[in-house]
Symmetry: C2
Subunit: 191 residues, 2 copies
Amino acid sequence: MCPAPARTTDAAIVTAARALLERDGPAGVTMQAVGAAVGVRGPSLYKRIADRAALLRAIEAEALAELGARLEAVAGPPARLAARRMAVAYRAFARESPKTYAMLFSPERWDEAGDAARARAVAPVLAVTAALAGQADALAAARLLTAFLHGWVSMELAGAFRLGGDVEAAFAYALDATIEGIEARRAAARI
Amino acid sequence: MCPAPARTTDAAIVTAARALLERDGPAGVTMQAVGAAVGVRGPSLYKRIADRAALLRAIEAEALAELGARLEAVAGPPARLAARRMAVAYRAFARESPKTYAMLFSPERWDEAGDAARARAVAPVLAVTAALAGQADALAAARLLTAFLHGWVSMELAGAFRLGGDVEAAFAYALDATIEGIEARRAAARI
DNA sequence: GTCTATATTCAGATAGAC
DNA sequence: GTCTATCTGAATATAGAC
């Protein structure tokens, strides 16, 4: 019907762009490289997406949905165990998609759709910290837990743990201490 | 004596480059812009520094020395208070030099000199966590504390706390919970 | 030590044919 | 929808005069 039938799809473009991001970093996600990966020329992509920024936003949306689903998948009581499982799932996601993960925290392209996607992704964490810390401290506790996890995986991905020692054991220690600290503050508040 | 006396200094170049980094981000640190900021042309800088990467390494070294000095300045017992003061100092440094701070965790240019500078910068933190957590867990506790702080300030600088609430109060809560968690694990280990 | 001039490379994005 | 050809711009770094 068309003189030039579609040779690719929007989904394939996003998938290929994310693969390029992981392989070559953000600078490797050029329109030409993405086009080549899906079998078209670079300029042809502009018939489907507005510009490079829109492509990167699409990668972010896909990644946030994936992260949220992984966290949701390990939800459920008891809260203490759920917190541990979510921490493990979060760390696993970051290790499997390090460059994509890093992009989630670069604010250049944030918009309202991104805000909504972020809120959905962290909802399971908020549910867990509400149970761990009490409703009054749920948000603060969620911020502690995500800050710790984000800091930890960022440092791991940057190769910042360079003083030796057992990093796996340290992660277990740090996660336990964080959860215990949250629980301890709840107990203190009840007195 | 010279036909063309020096119009700038190495120190001025690093200072100007760091100011450009803070104003325009890493991409703003071009050789031409740095040259203009110190009153010479871009290519003239190559008589003083090997290349752009060396310039960025020099910024990192300066920043790490500054951060280490700030942490050292608030050291001293009691450990619990020192940990709090260091957290505040760390956060203040990141807020005053956000782009420079972010660059400290981008591993592209790390070398042995950078490792040594990093080790010096975190030495005060290790001293504090040794007192807080005991010698056996000092490194793991330092990793917890730095991961939490790095994660927290990274999220703040990225504008990632977008669910409302009192971020200052949440920081106080999170810092207290982290310190208490470290202390609680020490008590648990002693039993 | 600084200059001008330039080699080199490569990116995003558009125009218009098919 | 895809193509080729091109515009536009900017960056790092070098060469060689002064």
